[in-house]
Amino acid sequence: MPLQDLEKIFEDKIENEIKIEPKDWMPDAYRKTNIRQISQHAHSEVVGMLPEGNWISRAPSLKRKAILIAKVQDEAGHGLYLYSSAETLGSSRDEMVADLHSGKAKYSSIFNYPSLTWADMGAIGWLVDGAAILNQVMLCRTSYGPYARAMVRICKEESFHQRQGFESLLVLSRGTDEQKAMCQDAINRWWWPSLMMFGPRDSESTNSDQSMKWKIKRKTNDELRQQFVDMAVMQVKVLGMTLPDPYLKWNEERKHYDFGEINWDEFWNVVKGNGPCNKQRLAARNKAHDEGAWVREAAIAYAEKKSNQNKQEAA
């Protein structure tokens, strides 16, 4: 079939909301964009295990410990679903992981901030997972079938993550003065990085946006960010806490909350590797991978040995 026809079929599917599936013809750039986005999303899940895993051993009650372990384990599962859907595009998990470990591939910058107190577990659940969920709900309708299906599965499991985070903060907000202070401090530290998770402002870009056209993305950064701010302003009242932004104000005309300017220098610095924990996060992933090498090698060697034995017995 001539290339123009294939492109036409592809564009028609996108136009008519028909999912693109692994064996369908797709433009190279569509494939690459998806591999990059899905694998970065997977890396974010896996690196995201570290700041929270950090508090598993110190969780303040057995119930909280169980919830936290289950949650961090879910993130491993989500990373795996995502790697699995990226693999349908012809990129192996090994390649993707190697790119993460070499520093070539990126992951969400939010995980380069440290988790300093127990209240951070609540703040991450409420704000970071809350921001991620907005993205992920949107991605359930993304045009690439395996990615959309992974997102549906993930969203189903994620709903408990944000709820447990908020509930955990709620308990702190009703606790001792020290707990209240811990709660406010965590919100102060995680608020701005959470807003940064949505990426640069829409006005930064002047070119046409291919990701939106291809329906890989379905809402702009600013739309999602606004949605997030509007929600958080309501929710923080329930906690009796404040958000660290003096410019936060209801705008009657827009029917949205106005908010202050994000520190974009900080954003790009963290992306470029200068966040408080970039180095530690990558080091931890590399260490786990390197120290696991002999295990992976032995398991495959054993499987090969057994399969050869079976063949010999059959012969």
């Binding site: 079939m1 013809w25 679903y81 070539k104 990426g199 046409s208 993305k217 970039n278």
Partner: protein, 122 residues
Amino acid sequence: MKIHISKYYYGDIPEEKAGGFQDQKSNVDKNSWPLWEVFVRSKQGLDHKHVGSLHATDPVMAIENARDVYTRRQEGVSIWVVESKFITASNPEEAGELYEPAADKIYRHPTFYELPDEVGHM
């Protein structure tokens, strides 16, 4: 086809903007584990449904990994795994010749037949 990707999203930072420390160690694992496709029967009476894939060294490990990864919330009562390389998929470009002939065989569908009401449910 001209491609501009100009917005950066959560989990989507373009490489040209990335800097930082690259220790240039990009050796792909030579001992990578094979990929398996996983099918889960969510309850008795239903078909096994494809849920995704995972890596494992042998069928037993693949089943166990599938249990841990895809049924953490009691999503299944039965699991099938098959090494991905053994799956043959139809080619979407042949979809026309494979599936469209069925479109005009409406006599295969029960609603094709009009029966008098007295027959009752059939």
